[in-house]
């Protein structure tokens, strides 16, 4: 129990409740993720993977069921507490990297710490520099986010997701827009972080080769876990 990072109990998600267009996307998902695990979440498009990821990432709320982060029930938490919990325990890597173009690569990595502390300081900068070195991009730290290759941007996004030293990183098709070589290197980077720091990863992917290299594969079909 002490090593449990994430637990979902009968999580359901429906849209347009009480209307003719009522749609249930997730039909009672049970899932558990332990510290240091690297999970692949696969399934066809429209199966509910992204919805599930948003719920796990506390960006969306389930219609019913319960979500525990590090043993804490999140269903009773208000917006401010949810935001705080999200910032401190979960890192995000999106398919389109979503770096903020108004900032440099290094500043993007500093951003979660900046949001949390309120003011920049040398410590935050040094932590961001370390992370940039960890993802092998110390030479382009001062570049604008838009002035980098897709692979580099995704590496910056990974560095950013690790800034707060989260317990869980949620990656939504992080290699989806990359060529095979870059995809492989980005995946390896995540795997390395996972091995070294024990950070749990939950990666949505359509790439079966990559999925097979994860600790566990969870397949979502029609809003249910198939395997």
């Amino acid at each position: 129990m002490a090593d449990e990072v994430l637990r979902l109990e009968k999580v359901r998600k429906a849209y347009n409740i009480g209307m003719p267009s009522h749609t249930e996307v997730l039909h009672g998902i049970d899932l558990k993720l332990e510290r240091g695990q690297f999970l692949a979440l696969t399934g066809p498009s429209g199966s509910g993977k992204s919805t599930l990821l948003n719920i796990i990432g506390l960006l969306d709320q389930p219609t019913s069921g319960r979500l525990f982060i590090k043993g804490q029930d999140t269903s009773a938490l208000g917006d401010a507490a949810i935001t705080l919990l999200r910032g401190h325990t979960i890192g995000f890597v999106f398919q389109d990297h979503h770096l903020i173009s108004a900032f440099t690569a290094l500043e993007n990595v500093m951003m979660p710490l900046l949001v949390d502390r309120g003011f920049p300081n040398a410590q935050i900068e040094s932590r961001a520099n370390d992370l940039m070195a960890q993802v092998g991009l110390e030479n382009v730290a001062g570049n604008r986010a838009t002035n980098m290759s897709g692979g580099q941007q995704q590496r910056v996004a990974i560095a950013r997701s690790l800034a707060m030293n989260p317990d869980l990183v949620l990656a939504d098709e992080p290699t989806g827009n990359l060529d095979t070589k870059s995809a492989d290197s980005v995946f390896e980077l995540m795997r390395e972080v996972n091995r070294e720091s024990g950070t749990s990863f939950l990666m949505v992917t359509h790439n079966l080769d990559l999925a097979k290299r994860c600790d566990r594969i969870i397949e979502v079909v029609d809003g249910k876990i198939a395997s």
């Binding site: 935001t83 910032g87 995000f92 979660p112 003011f119």
Partner: protein
Amino acid sequence: MNFWLPFEWIAAVRFLREGRMQTLFIISGIAIGVGVIVFMSALLTGLEANFIKRVLTSQAQIELIPPDQIARPLRNGPGVFENAIVQRPSQRVISIDQWPKIRDRMFATPGVTGVSPTMAGSALAVRGAASRSISLSGIEPGTYFKIIRIPDYIVAGQARLTNDDIIIGIELAKDLGATVGDKLNIQAASGTVMALTVTGLIDLGSKGANQRTTYVALRTAQSLLGIVGGVTTIEMTVQNIYDAETLAEQIQASNYVEADSWIATNAQFFTAVRAQETSNTMIRLFVALSVAFGIAAVLVVSVIQRSKDIGILRSMGASRGQVLRIFLLQGGLLGFAGALVGSALGMVGLVYWHSAIRQADGTELFPLILEPALFVITIILATFTGLLAATAPAVRAARLNPVEAIRG
């Protein structure tokens, strides 16, 4: 990254800097609006100050005159009128009753800075075959010059008035062919004639006034107009010119005189000033409104453009409050920057206008009054307007659902 700036400030400045064109255009828009406000306000203040200065240095702020002479109906016993219809009597030139006492009392009144008795009437100025009707003012130079700055208006000769001297307007001098040192015969309606020497020529800035105005010593006027020892007017200046009307009312209530303040005698001027102030306020209000809507429009678009960034920031743990502040700050910063540029624009425009637009005689049309308070207030108001205008877009940004925001 500046270590001394909080996160919200850094994000707000970066977002504005990244949307360079948008930021530049809206700052230009705000600057033009603020420039117009600064220019108009300073110009109107200058014009008003100039007008007040002119009005108040060429006339007294309170004038005490004898009350109207009224005829009483003829009675024949209590309640019985012999002749109920009373014709208004003609107003003879008469002296203010007990004027030295009133003058002394006025001197002792708080808020009064200058008191001067004068004797005014009409007469005829004759030189050779030319004669002109004139308005004759008998004054005590010592006290009168403190109220009306005759020495400032002297264009030839000097402001000296002994019993045989006269100061006349330049147009009158032209009409009579007289100049400094010449003698004029001044003939009063009573038939009294005195020969006076022109000691100074004055230009009061109005042709009509320059054709009629003459100043003589008080005693000379008393002799000419046949009211020895009397005065027709007591002229006064007060500390606060806007208190003149209240003070005049108090004086009239406690003395047997009629007291006219410059406010009452220049009612039209006051109406004009008030109308100008109202239109100025309306223009300022509408300019401020259009500036506010401009800022709001730009920020609404910015929120849409930045929705992904907002979603990302929220996913990183940024609170709704932080997002709200980022956009509020952008509004405030736009207002502040626009006001800075606008104030400079308005000031440059004002200085140019002041030097380029002159009166016919080359003197300034209005004094250049650049009060720091105007700029400080304008900048504070513009910043506040920016903050206010940013409220709706900022609330919208803060309320964005992170999932939808990231999806874009």
